[in-house]
């Protein structure tokens, strides 16, 4: 499994700078659209200019939203990968993540499930996340419910099954 540079575990500083610049641009365009509209309304002369500028601003905002989501995804990923993760580590990581995707875990649940896979206890997880043990326990219940497992052992084996199972040859 190959990984593009952007999916490695480096800090996504470039992406952060890009988001920041685009936010400033979006604010600049948005104020321009609003002042243009206040000045001439939907008068025929500036109408197409206004429509195009509004469209550009809206799509820029959509891009910022998508980039922010991707940025948060990269941060979550980096949070559980060691500084010098090997290709094999990342492949295993991807398989674990694909399970979390399939179970539709929330960001908090994913974080806790990953600590669980790494073998941390409830008290340790609570300390790492700065939350009460009761909170972690209720997240754990949600993780077991969504994954259809009853405890850490079952959750681990459902992931390990995918790692070692023989793939049936396609007919």
């Amino acid at each position: 499994m190959t990984h593009p540079a952007s999916l490695s575990n480096k800090t996504p500083l470039g992406l952060m700078a890009l988001i920041l610049i685009q936010v400033i641009c979006a604010i600049f365009f948005a104020t321009d659209v609003i002042s243009d509209f206040a000045e001439s309304g939907m008068a025929l002369s500036g109408r197409y200019h206004l429509i195009i500028e509004s469209g550009a601003t809206v799509s820029l905002c959509a891009a910022i939203l998508l980039e922010t989501r991707y940025f948060l995804y990269l941060l979550r990923r980096k949070a559980h990968l060691e500084k010098s993760a090997s290709v094999a580590t990342m492949a295993v990581f991807d398989i674990i993540e694909s399970h979390f995707d399939a179970w539709q875990l929330t960001p908090s649940e994913r974080d806790i499930a990953m600590f669980l896979v790494k073998g941390l206890g409830i008290a340790e997880i609570a300390k790492m996340r700065g939350s009460a043990e009761g909170t972690v326990k209720s997240h754990l219940n949600a993780i077991y419910r969504k994954s259809g497992t009853a405890n850490r052992g079952e959750l681990l084996s459902s992931i390990i099954d995918t790692l070692i199972e023989e793939r049936p040859a396609s007919p």
């Binding site: 948060l72 941060l75 980096k78 949070a79 939350s131």
Partner: protein, 174 residues
């Protein structure tokens, strides 16, 4: 859950004085008036006092308790991304960057404003343009600061605006 004293009287008076003076100069006072200039100098004096307090003041007011750190800021963003709720007693790492940004911007606004009044730069357009760009940047920063304070208050269940009034962060984990 406990309550921790974080902001001393100086920090609180500084914060709200800056809010009032900058708000007045940016939004209300006539920019060609003498009052605008005097408020500008008062803001610069406030910032200088804050910088001195950052060296000799109480624990959480000192710059050494909130050094500008890229890795700590990344850690805080990771906490946000992963839904972790580790509390910071003093300024948070991202908050620290905002403070340095605002301190520097305020000083530069004061400097560019002062230059506009000197014989050497009087009537020059670039000083005025610089002054206005810096003010826009400061206003943008203030909006981001308020949004971030609301976001963090909700995320960590600690009322941060109230802490800046009373001096105490409530509802902090043991």
């Amino acid at each position: 859950m406990k309550r921790i004293r974080v902001w001393d009287l100086f920090v609180r008076v500084f914060h709200w004085s800056l809010v009032i003076l900058f708000g007045a100069n940016a939004l209300i006072i006539d920019e060609d008036s003498a009052v605008h200039e005097w408020i500008g100098y008062a803001v610069v004096a406030l910032i200088v006092a804050r910088i001195i307090w950052g060296l000799v003041g109480t624990r959480y007011a000192r710059f050494s308790s909130f050094p500008p750190s890229r890795s700590a800021a990344m850690e805080q963003m990771t906490d946000i991304a992963a839904g972790r709720t580790r509390a910071h007693v003093g300024h948070t790492p991202l908050g620290a960057w905002m403070i340095y940004n605002l301190l520097v911007t305020m000083l530069l606004i004061g400097l560019s404003g002062y230059l506009m009044t000197t014989d050497m730069f009087w009537g020059m357009e670039w000083t005025e343009e610089l002054h206005e760009i810096l003010v826009s940047w400061a206003e943008l920063s203030v909006v981001a600061h308020i949004a971030a304070v609301i976001f963090e208050s909700r995320r960590l269940h600690v009322n941060l605006p109230r802490a800046m009034v009373t001096g105490y962060k409530e509802n902090m984990p043991e």
